[in-house]
């Protein structure tokens, strides 16, 4: 049965952090993932702490260094609609615009989007999988067409967040608040591979909360894009996605960042592709080679080898479009 739980609507950050510092407390922001998790009995809660009324954690403000601070409660819809983001951090606005469906984008928050639980159908379904304390990852021998092609195991889910991939390409830094104060984590270190932790997907401790996202000042000549491939055109997670960030100087790629979604338990850095692109003038042949490089190291399972082709094609296409 569903365990009865307490509900608290926090008015200040301090109140929220205090409330969270107790056993079985969970954050409720947009609720689009929490309610589904509770419905599916993925975990139980003793206390639901609503943070949706905390004004300090909502909205976007400029940073003194020219960067941008995004509060964790900023909705996905407002990120998708932001003129500043569209102009200076296009990859993030584009990723947000591809999240879920209009209703979910209005309700869902950026913090929640980064911290959502896996969407693996074994994890969400009635299967005692490793991530739920079971002994096995059902995807290994089972229905794995949607699963990871980059994972060392023992779990092969793909991280569901679009914005996480985009923020990785932007080298965002995340502020985490907790009982011991706040700390800053580069997004690259935020997500945890399954071999490091099987029961959670990021470094947040139970009483901690991701409060702010910080973007560096836009670099000169930088341009970025997000491309998402999915089974249907709305309300669907990525089969493969590509977040590209390129700094271009006189037609030459001086710096490239290429991150993939839908292929690994965390945003996946296509380091070989980045390396290949740096210092070169982009043309069709280079784009194709970069696509090949992006798929390097992939270990597909029985039903997801198509993702290797998809990565190659999506990276190639994204490069050509971004520099068209």
């Amino acid at each position: 049965m569903m365990k009865p739980f307490a509900y608290l609507k926090a008015k200040t950050p301090a109140e929220a952090l205090a409330a969270l510092n107790s056993k079985g407390a969970r954050i409720h922001a947009g609720g689009t993932d929490l309610l589904g998790c509770l419905h599916d009995h993925l975990f139980t809660v003793d206390k639901v702490v609503s943070i949706s009324g905390i004004k300090e954690w909502s909205g976007m403000t400029g940073r003194p260094d020219g960067g941008l601070k995004i509060g964790c409660l900023t909705t996905i819809a407002s990120i998708a609609a932001s003129a500043v983001l569209k102009e200076k951090y296009a990859v993030l606005a584009q990723a947000a615009s591809e999240v879920a469906s209009p209703q979910l984008r209005e309700q869902g928050t950026i913090g929640g989007n980064l911290c959502q639980r896996p969407r693996c159908w074994y994890y969400r379904g009635d299967f005692p999988c490793a991530r739920k304390g079971g002994e096995t990852c059902f995807a290994v021998e089972g229905e794995n067409q949607n699963h990871a092609i980059f994972s060392n195991g023992p779990c092969f889910f793909v991280h569901p967040s679009d914005t996480a991939v985009a923020l990785s390409a932007l080298q965002a830094r995340l502020t985490v608040a907790g009982p011991a104060g706040t700390r800053t984590v580069p997004i690259e270190s935020f997500f945890l591979a399954p071999e490091k932790a099987i029961d959670r997907e990021n470094v947040l401790e139970p009483a901690e909360i991701l409060t702010e996202i910080h973007l560096p000042a836009p670099a000169a000549g930088a341009r970025s894009s997000y491309r998402k491939i999915r089974s249907r055109q709305s309300w669907d997670f990525a089969l493969t996605s590509v977040a590209l960030w390129l700094q271009v100087d006189k037609g030459m790629v001086s710096q490239a960042r290429c991150w993939l979604g839908g292929v690994a338990p965390a945003p996946w850095r296509a380091a070989a592709a980045e390396k290949l692109l740096a210092g070169k003038k982009l043309n069709a042949a280079l784009a194709a080679s970069a696509g090949q490089a992006a798929a390097e190291g992939a270990v597909p399972m029985r039903d997801n080898a198509y993702k290797v082709e998809m990565v190659k094609g999506a990276v190639e296409e994204s490069l050509l479009r971004l520099l068209a």
Binding site: R124, G142, S231, S234, W235, Y306, M310, G313, E317
Partner: protein, 769 residues
């Protein structure tokens, strides 16, 4: 009704001998000119539906009502060894717990002679089988109580695929897993046909299991008043489905059960029979003495309410150089899941085109999965998938235009029945569809060799039903103020039946549409109507409505002629009076006329007349698609669809268009995204929810979506000249999209659905050579 469909609807539709029509029928002539019929009219219940005033089963709330929840077996194959409900019974709000051992709950269910299953069977043959049920004050208490029921299962080995046919396979039944004998349809001699052919092609095709995914879940609300039971049920048939089924299950007379379904949130074939949930609600309501509502959670609807079964088809076709078909040979192996249900797909192979030599052989096996149910044109999108892709392959091989190849094999005579169709619009659908689509120009245009390729494809189709047949009764009642009320037990499952019935009554009586009201689908007050299935409600019911209205008119004209002293042909109904056409000053208020004849209303009972003998009645269609295929990512975008459909008389342009849009959209899901996925390790469904099971969203449906309504002016098929549309509008869309994909990228998507994965795998295979 064709034997194919009859077989699919096996158990719950009663068969009746057609009643002989009354003598009056001979005088009903086809309308020469119509005032209302043929126009585009908004739905008569549109306001109720969009405002929320319409009460669906899910909306029913009664005083003291309890909520039921059903415990389901979590294993693909298991025996229930014991059930302990003691903890659940003590939980707050729980008023009753039901299992197979409860008094009155030991009821026979699926099966029959060979193997008899039960309402709560200890042998659970697939995930989701009903094990126990509870009734509680709130739905949450009921759901919580389920989790407190302790069940001990003995899990058994399971089988999901054709390995079920092996002797060593786990058995669902003592007699083995074969579903009866192979079904054979044979005509001519295929060996000779292939010998005569210039080109012979053979290909293997596969279509996945598609779920009905109705917007309104399955469910029922049960209320007892003494020995009388009322069921509000989300059903496609208040009579054939729920009333007769519930009466049989509960051993009650028909007139002691009242079944009501005024508004329906989607059935597509999954709501043709009484559900276990309806009977469980009735038993819990009897046990507690309070009304009980049993709406299924979304997840349960995916496990236990039906699906379109998969099909493994091999089709061999022979054709002469000029395009003349010489032979078609189909084998199909499929599974209805754990309980018998139709899996046949071969009808169109034997019927759609003129072909002297045909051999269809179909067989099935039981497997540990949810049972198939009729799904919008059962077997037809799957059979069409192989036949119409094969026609495309033949056209390519012959260097012939695909439309031309189909026209070459066009027939006006039913191939399986050897009688002429009352009408066939197939040729016109092909010609008018191709013209409106710009087919020739599109196919002739130079193809891009870039990464995103455009392609154009088409497919034809037909439906074995759509004829409609007796019995149906429509009561048409004229009030003294000129208002009309139609009563019928027939359903409007979202298709627009009610609107069309009102239009036809208004047309026949010459009154405004606003004067006509319809009350339907209430077995206590409306006369018999068949379940809505087979695209037969409109051609079944509407002629009966016209006849009822016609009878009212005849009575009025006779009384009017007598009262006014003019010939009957000169009498007309004018608002709340009758008058003479030739002498406008001669008139009489209806009330006066009726009172003089001892009544305050005139009632016409319209029965459905038999169909014409030695004729075939079938609807046809041809669908056209334009797609873009991204060869880098495997994405398919359907950018344009056109449906040219012929279903006899077009009564309401708006609902006709609606049906074609809806049918094509649902088939677009079948084509591109929809498939049930069962975990091979456990036999459990991994995508039993609306997120992982992917029905198309608004963004997946092309903005450019056109309908061509072909009207063959059929005066033979019935009194109104109409045939059914819901299913034929759903049949050839996926094949048209597949053919367009082939046109775009030169790979043949034989296995559906055509996900990005499918396309990328095919392209990779082609690249490897």
């Amino acid at each position: 009704m064709s034997h194919y469909y009859e077989e699919m609807e096996e158990s719950f539709r009663n068969s009746f001998e057609p009643a002989p029509g009354p003598v009056a029928e001979a005088k009903i002539r086809p309308w020469e000119k119509t005032q209302l019929v043929g126009k585009g009219v908004p739905r008569v219940d549109g306001y109720e539906r969009v405002s929320g005033a319409a009460q669906y089963t899910a909306d029913i709330v009664l005083p003291d009502m309890l909520y039921a929840a059903i415990l389901r077996c979590p294993h693909a194959h298991a025996m229930v060894k014991s059930i302990d409900t003691s903890a659940a019974e003590k939980m707050p709000g729980v008023l009753a717990v039901l299992s197979g051992k409860s008094p009155g709950a030991d009821l026979p269910w699926y099966g029959g002679k060979a193997a008899q299953s039960k309402l709560f069977d200890t042998h659970c043959r697939h995930e989701g089988e009903e094990v126990a049920a509870v009734a509680a004050l709130t739905p949450y208490q009921a759901a919580d109580a389920l989790r407190a029921i302790r069940v001990e299962y003995e899990t058994l080995p399971f089988v999901l695929d054709p390995a079920a046919m092996q002797p060593s396979a786990p058995k669902l039944y003592e007699g083995g897993n074969a579903v009866g004998e192979p079904r054979i349809v044979k005509r001519g001699d295929v060996a000779q046909g292939f010998a005569e052919a210039d080109v012979v092609l053979e290909e293997t095709f596969y279509t996945s299991v598609q779920m009905h995914a109705t917007m309104e879940a399955h469910g029922s609300v049960a209320k007892w008043d003494g020995d009388k039971l009322t069921l509000w049920d989300s059903t496609q048939g208040v009579y054939d489905g729920v009333l007769f089924g519930a009466a049989r299950a509960l051993n009650m007379p028909f007139n002691k059960i009242r079944v009501i379904c005024k508004y329906m949130g989607g059935g597509f074939g999954a709501k043709l029979e009484v559900g276990k949930y309806s009977i469980i609600a009735a038993l819990l309501a009897r046990k507690t003495g309070r009304p009980v509502k049993a709406m299924l959670p979304r997840e349960d609807t995916f496990l236990c309410t039906g699906n379109r079964p998969e099909a493994r088809m091999t089709l061999k076709a022979g054709v002469k150089k000029d395009g003349t078909l010489t032979a078609l040979q189909l084998t199909n192996l499929s599974t209805p899941g754990a309980y018998a249900s139709g899996t046949s797909v071969g009808y169109q192979v034997a019927e759609l085109y003129k072909c002297p030599n045909v051999l269809v052989s179909e067989s099935g096996y039981y497997s540990n999965a949810g049972r198939a149910r009729p799904f919008r044109a059962p077997g037809f999108p799957s059979g069409n998938w192989c036949l119409e892709q094969m026609m495309d392959m033949l056209a390519v091989k012959l260097g012939m235009d695909p439309v031309e190849l189909r026209l070459k094999n066009f027939t006006e005579v039913s191939q399986t029945r050897q009688v002429p169709y009352t009408s066939t619009g197939l040729k016109e659908c092909l010609l008018q569809g191709a013209k409106a689509f710009g087919w020739q120009e599109a196919r002739a245009a130079k193809k891009s060799d870039g990464p995103v390729r455009r392609g154009f494809g088409m497919a034809a189709g037909m439906w074995s039903g759509g004829n409609g047949s007796p019995p149906y009764t429509a009561e048409v009642r004229l009030f003294v103020d000129g208002g009309i009320t139609i009563k019928t037990g027939a359903m409007d499952i979202g298709t627009g039946t009610k609107t069309v019935a009102c239009m036809v009554a208004a047309e026949e009586l010459g009154v405004p549409l606003e004067s006509v009201r319809i009350e339907n689908a209430d077995t206590a007050v409306t006369p018999y109507g068949q379940s809505s299935g087979g695209s037969m409600t409109l051609p079944g019911l509407i002629p009966a409505v016209r006849k009822g209205a016609w009878l009212v008119k005849q009575q009025l004209l006779a009384w009017g002629a007598e009262a006014l002293g003019v010939p009957a042909e000169d009498v007309e109904l004018k608002g709340n009076a009758i008058g003479s056409r030739s002498a406008p000053d001669k008139k009489k208020p209806l009330e006066e006329l009726l009172r003089a004849n001892g009544v305050m209303d005139v009632i016409g009972i319209g029965n459905r007349d038999p169909n014409p003998p030695k004729k075939a009645i079938n609807p046809f269609g041809a669908h056209f698609a334009e797609v873009e295929v991204n060869t880098r990512t495997g994405e398919v975008r359907v950018v344009r669809l056109l449906g040219a459909n012929e279903s006899g008389r077009v009564i309401n342009q708006k609902t006709f268009h609606n049906q074609v849009f809806g049918g094509m959209t649902q088939c677009l899901g079948f084509a591109l995204t929809e498939k049930r996925v069962l975990d091979r390790q456990t036999g459990k469904m991994v995508n039993a929810n609306l997120h992982d099971y992917k029905v198309p969203t608004a963004l997946d449906v092309p903005v450019q979506h056109q309908v061509v309504a072909v009207d063959p002016q059929d005066t033979e098929c019935n009194l109104v000249g109409c045939k059914g549309l819901g299913e034929p509008a759903h049949i050839p869309t996926a094949s048209a999209i597949a053919n367009a994909i082939y046109d775009a990228v030169g790979v043949r998507p034989t296995h559906g659905p055509m996900e990005p994965k499918t396309i990328l795998e095919l392209l990779a295979k082609k690249k490897r050579g």
